[in-house]
């Protein structure tokens, strides 16, 4: 192996890389950007033309560093080079962003796309237009479906319109189909899906023209990723093989099949759910490990039972929705629970492993009042999570807080408490912190640096005055500054400058004595 036939430089000197066989060097070069690949031509004479034989081209107008006018001619020249040498392009990636010269770009693509797709080795075709307004009509694009060995197809901002129904789909090996902002009709989508039996990955983001999206014939489909916030469309997924589903938009969940034997992760955003989803959940989704429900409808009252669930994310929009939610979660194998939204109505957990929870309390506006009933609800939530290692983030501070003696609560041990969105401490914040420290006993407190002085005052300098009920439970306070250079924390004695990233470490009198 030490001696490997390869090119030698003129004086017989063998360097550490040029001796590799050309096809390996081409493979290595295929991972570089077009620009970096071109730059290798300057290394030495044996590298002069290597870059223009690598199996891929990647031209992105938005990242093109040269004179913008030359982009098209450089692309044309490069493609011509491949054509002249009768070299195959395996990966074709072109992004057009200059809309002013788009007609020129389109005529160039009309010339080259049929040539590029005709070669037997084209595996990846990626064409995107960057624009905020329109879809580009490029009828020639349909020839990509005649490319027999195509594995991956990515299109953005163009029209997949055929005058007559698409009848020639020869790309039987297609595995990935990603259409973003593509104008496509139901029939065309169905035709592609039914002609490509090996399709595994489908991405449809904001595609115009689709009304009823049926996914029922792809028996190898594993991932479905859909995102579209228009109304009036229906998605029907009816393939048992699917492993991940991601849907952002307003379709009804109930249009899909009920039983997903291989589904591992399900991410829904704004989707309309019904309590039915949670009936027989464990038998309908026997492998589901990750569930995230962002701002979904119909989450008022549910009982979730899942043995396979490891990671659950819930996010609710609006305080009324949050307040009305009643959730019973029975997930013996859960590892992480995340919640974002206003304090939920009620939530209860049955678990049996070590798990973590991460709560982001988003109130609707900073003028929400933190009355004792609200604090009580936060306290209830933390009590429900007390079996886990809790991190709480309170975003947007309330400005109106009523005095509270804190005697009503049973403080819950919390690992991390972070306060975000704080800039200028208001007098109400002292009352707010009072509420928080009655509700929970955090081990670490993080805040915006401008808030450190205020925290320092409350936790350290005024502690001796014992204004507050909770202060007698606080045994020790120390500060740790985070040093980015060494990536570790070191103790800090006084209040450091505002540029420093610090956290407060709090030691409380043992909570175990408390009920």
């Amino acid at each position: 192996m030490k001696k490997h036939g390869g090119e030698r430089n003129g004086d017989g000197f063998m360097d550490r890389i040029s001796q590799l066989p050309q096809h390996i060097l081409q493979h290595v070069l295929s991972f570089l950007s077009q620009k970096e690949a071109v730059q290798t031509s300057l290394l030495s004479k044996s590298w002069r033309y290597l870059w223009c034989t690598r199996p891929n081209i990647e031209f992105r107008e938005s990242r093109f560093t040269g004179n913008k006018e030359t982009f098209m001619s450089v692309l044309d020249k490069t493609l011509q080079g491949y054509h002249d040498q009768m070299l195959c392009i395996q990966e074709f990636c072109v992004e057009i962003s200059n809309i002013d010269s788009v007609s020129e770009s389109i005529s160039l693509l009309e010339k080259w796309i049929p040539i590029v797709t005709m070669n037997m080795r084209l595996k990846t075709f990626n064409l995107s237009f960057s624009s905020n307004v329109t879809y580009f009509n490029l009828p020639v694009i349909l020839v990509v479906f005649e490319s027999e060995f195509l594995h991956k197809l990515y299109l953005k901002r163009c029209m997949l319109l055929s005058q007559k129904p698409l009848d020639m789909v020869l790309s039987k090996h297609l595995k990935t189909l990603s259409l973003k902002r593509v104008y496509i009709k139901d029939e065309t989508f169905e035709k592609i899906m039914s002609s490509c039996p090996f399709i595994e990955y489908v991405v449809l983001h904001k595609c115009e023209g689709l009304r009823i999206i049926k996914v029922n014939k792809s028996h190898n489909l594993k991932h479905f990723d859909f995102d579209d916030y228009r109304c009036n469309y229906i998605i029907k997924i009816d393939v048992p093989t699917i492993e991940t589903i991601k849907i952002g938009g307003f379709p009804n969940w109930c249009d899909h099949r009920k039983y997903f034997p291989h589904l591992k992760s399900l991410h829904l955003k704004f989707v309309k759910l019904s309590a039915e989803l949670f009936n027989n959940f464990s038998s309908n989704f026997p492998c589901l490990e990750e569930l995230s429900l962002w701002f979904c409808y119909g989450l008022d009252k549910f009982h979730l039972f899942s043995r396979s669930m490891k990671h659950l994310i819930l996010a609710l929009l609006g305080s009324i929705k949050a307040a009305s939610m009643k959730a019973v979660i029975d997930a013996p194998n859960i590892v992480k629970f995340e919640y974002e939204g206003d304090i939920p109505g009620s939530i209860s957990f049955t678990t049996s492993t070590k798990w973590k929870s991460n709560i982001v309390v988003q109130s609707n506006g900073s003028f929400d009042d933190y009355t004792s009933s609200r604090c009580l609800k936060l306290n209830e939530l933390l009590k429900a999570l007390s079996e886990s290692e809790i991190s709480v983030n309170i975003a947007n501070p309330p400005l109106l807080v009523l005095d509270d003696d804190g005697g009503l609560y049973e403080p819950v041990a919390v690992e991390n408490l972070s306060l975000s969105g704080y800039y200028w401490p208001f007098s109400s914040h002292a009352r707010f912190l009072n509420c928080l420290f009655c509700v929970c006993h955090p081990r670490y407190v993080y805040a915006h640096p401008s808030f450190d002085e205020f925290l320092w005052k409350i936790l350290v300098t005024e502690r001796e005055m014992r204004h507050y009920f909770w202060q007698r439970d606080l045994e020790e306070v120390s500060m740790e500054a985070f040093d980015e250079n060494v990536n570790e924390r070191s103790p800090e004695c006084g209040l450091p400058g505002k540029h420093k990233n610090i956290r407060f470490r709090l030691k409380w009198i043992e909570l175990s004595d408390l009920p």
Partner: protein, 167 residues
């Protein structure tokens, strides 16, 4: 010397193959791991012989390839674990080690490892100036200054913003 792979002594049920490196050392590999290499698979299909001699792969490189094959043949490991193994596998390795690995995977036709290693090699070159790459790999610049200027002129777009940092 016979070295068993990570799974320890192989059970009688599992067929195994002995692979000999160019240094003469022998490695015992399960057949399920060996056939992940297209070339080894072909050899095993063609002849009954359980001893395969690889005349152009040295000990160190072969041991690495076998560790890779055995990990990927292990049905007990999840795809995620295998992916992180791949990351770990190439991280911190010197360029010359990667070079012999890429040659070995090319000979043995282990497509996915060849991909991982080639990508790692490209990562080393990424965002580096021509002078750095020349220095790092001892590439002798055999261009005349005129020829160099001509190349820069021909593909002027590719040198646009690097020019300043070069000096």
């Amino acid at each position: 010397m016979v070295t068993t792979d990570e799974k320890g002594p192989l059970t009688a049920k599992k067929k195994s193959v002995i692979i000999r490196s160019c240094d003469g050392d022998e490695f015992l590999v399960s057949e399920s791991a060996a056939v992940l290499s297209t070339s080894l698979k072909k050899i095993l299909e063609e002849k009954e012989d359980r001893l395969i001699h690889l005349s152009d792969i040295d000990n160190k490189t072969l041991a690495m390839v076998i560790a890779y094959l055995s990990t990927h043949a292990d049905d007990g490991l999840s795809d995620d674990l295998k992916r992180s193994f791949d990351q770990e596998f190439v991280s911190g390795k010197e360029f010359d080690v990667l070079k012999y690995l890429v040659l070995a995977t090319d000979t043995l036709q282990v497509t996915c490892l060849c991909y991982t290693v080639a990508k790692k090699m490209a990562d080393i070159m990424k965002n580096k100036l021509v002078e750095w790459v020349r220095r790092e790999f001892d590439i002798q610049n055999d261009y005349t200054p005129e020829a160099e200027a001509e190349i820069r002129r021909l593909d002027a777009w590719a040198w646009d913003d690097r020019q300043l940092e070069d000096d």
